[in-house]
């Protein structure tokens, strides 16, 4: 079957796109959640998460090596047969819808809390989904250019928040390091892990890579960049707020409100929120792209562009349906969410890889 996506991307573009695809929301809400469990060791939690990220990149890369130029939806059918493959892909596509729904919900809550308190939710959601639908319709090459444009800005932004807050940071907050053993940091890592395993979504981009050999390196680079960003975000919150971090909704954003240098360099939070919006736009478009490509391949369409806007419509409905309110969503992230993510992003791909390796070694795979 010919490839549905005609565009080709470079490894740098792939890495930056993956960085933003996971990164934007992770720095927005994850510090508050991991602070609940890990307390002063919260900055160690992303390191446990990154190990899982590396595992997921490896899974996606290995599967793509075995079935060149095909995405998750295509090779799952070839590995376990038509019916079972379709069923697995359906679960995965539903999971993608859920992820997009919750990402958009996080953004909507963020924008309404920070800037537009009186705007109805539907307007904010429809606005961003419409923009990202147009981006997805233009194809992958356009999307990754957005990523190349915004990812460095996003990384720099977090570094600058940390730098500008240096006078206010209290380094005593990290002590005692591992004071209660490693367990608190591992418990606090549940949320970073749930975010890092989303790196498996690289399975939808790897087939479009111009130079297939560099896929693994680009993916691992993205994981490392993400790790650095997350540790920095966690440290900023920890050093500034200490134990208070757990009670804040968007701790890094609250931290940016603290920036005030020489009494004239202040109120930078509007710049911060703008950059977050741009990062979020890329993030939502990338996930929506994965969903669109996946659905088109699941239905064996010849072109994915006709279903971009209908799927956007579905995504808007999902953003409302995922959870009745933000608190319920955060509770879900701490309980069932990671289990479901682990099933879809680690266990199913690992099982597929296992079956594929057995089939290859007995020579019955094609």
């Amino acid at each position: 079957m010919p490839m549905i996506e005609k565009g080709k991307i470079s490894s740098l573009q792939l890495g930056l796109a993956m960085y933003l695809m996971i990164g934007a929301t992770s720095t927005l809400i994850v510090p508050a959640i991991s602070a609940k469990q890990a307390k002063q060791d919260m900055w160690i939690s992303p390191i446990w998460g990154a190990l899982w990220g590396i595992l997921c990149i490896f899974l996606a890369w290995k599967l793509e090596r075995l079935y060149p130029r095909s995405t998750f939806v295509e090779y799952s059918e070839r590995i376990v047969g038509k019916v079972a493959g379709k069923a697995i892909s359906f679960v995965f596509l539903f999971f993608l819808l859920l992820v997009i729904g919750s990402i958009i919900r996080e953004y909507e809550e963020f924008i309404i809390l920070a800037f537009l308190p009186n705007t109805p939710m539907a307007v904010v959601v429809a606005g961003i989904v419409m923009a990202s639908s147009f981006a997805v319709r233009s194809g992958l090459e356009v999307l990754v250019r957005f990523a190349v444009l915004f990812a460095p800005l996003f990384g720099l932004l977090l570094a600058f928040i940390f730098l500008f807050l240096l006078p206010d940071l209290d380094w005593q907050n990290v002590r005692p390091v591992l004071g209660y053993g490693v367990m608190p940091s591992i418990k606090g890592a549940i949320e970073p892990i749930a975010w890092f395993i989303e790196f498996f979504a690289i399975a939808f981009l790897l087939p479009c890579l111009r130079n297939r050999k560099s896929g693994l390196r680009a993916g691992l680079g993205a994981v490392l960049a993400m790790l650095a960003t997350m540790v920095l975000a966690h440290l900023t919150c920890l050093l500034l707020f200490g134990d208070l971090t757990a009670d804040l909704m968007f701790p890094v954003f609250s931290a940016s409100r603290f920036i005030s240098i020489a009494d004239f360099f202040s109120h930078v939070e509007s710049i911060v929120a703008t950059l977050w919006l741009l990062g979020g736009f890329v993030q939502i478009s990338m996930w929506q792209y994965a969903l669109t490509i996946g659905t088109a391949q699941w239905l064996k369409l010849t072109d994915y562009r006709p279903i971009v806007f209908p799927l956007g419509f579905l995504v808007i409905a999902f953003a409302k349906w995922v959870a009745p309110n933000f608190q319920d969503m955060l509770a879900f992230f701490l309980t069932t969410g990671p289990v479901f993510s682990l099933l879809c992003l680690v266990l199913i791909p690992a099982a597929l890889l296992f079956i594929a390796l057995i089939r290859k070694s007995f020579g019955s795979g094609n």
Partner: protein, 75 residues
């Protein structure tokens, strides 16, 4: 208010057809079916959410499936 939301929903569906339908040529039968199917699912879900906002959420449904496993993490 609910009626207004439903009407704007109809407007969105009309807009989707207006924008995308002429771009598909006669041979793309499968695409047209998928187009209508996805819009139907999305419209159904939206109408359900507008008229019965208290229906169990997606996360609640997954909670029912994986709830016992999820509660392990809670401690």
């Amino acid at each position: 208010m609910k009626l207004l939301f439903t009407l704007s929903l109809a407007l969105i569906v009309w807009g989707l057809f207006r924008y995308d339908w002429p771009r598909m040529n006669a041979g793309m039968k499968k695409e047209k079916t998928a187009f209508i199917g996805i819009i139907a699912v999305a419209a159904f879900l939206s109408i359900l959410l507008i008229w019965f906002p208290r229906i169990p959420s997606a996360m609640k449904m997954i909670d029912l499936l994986f709830g016992p496993l999820g509660s392990i993490l809670k401690t």
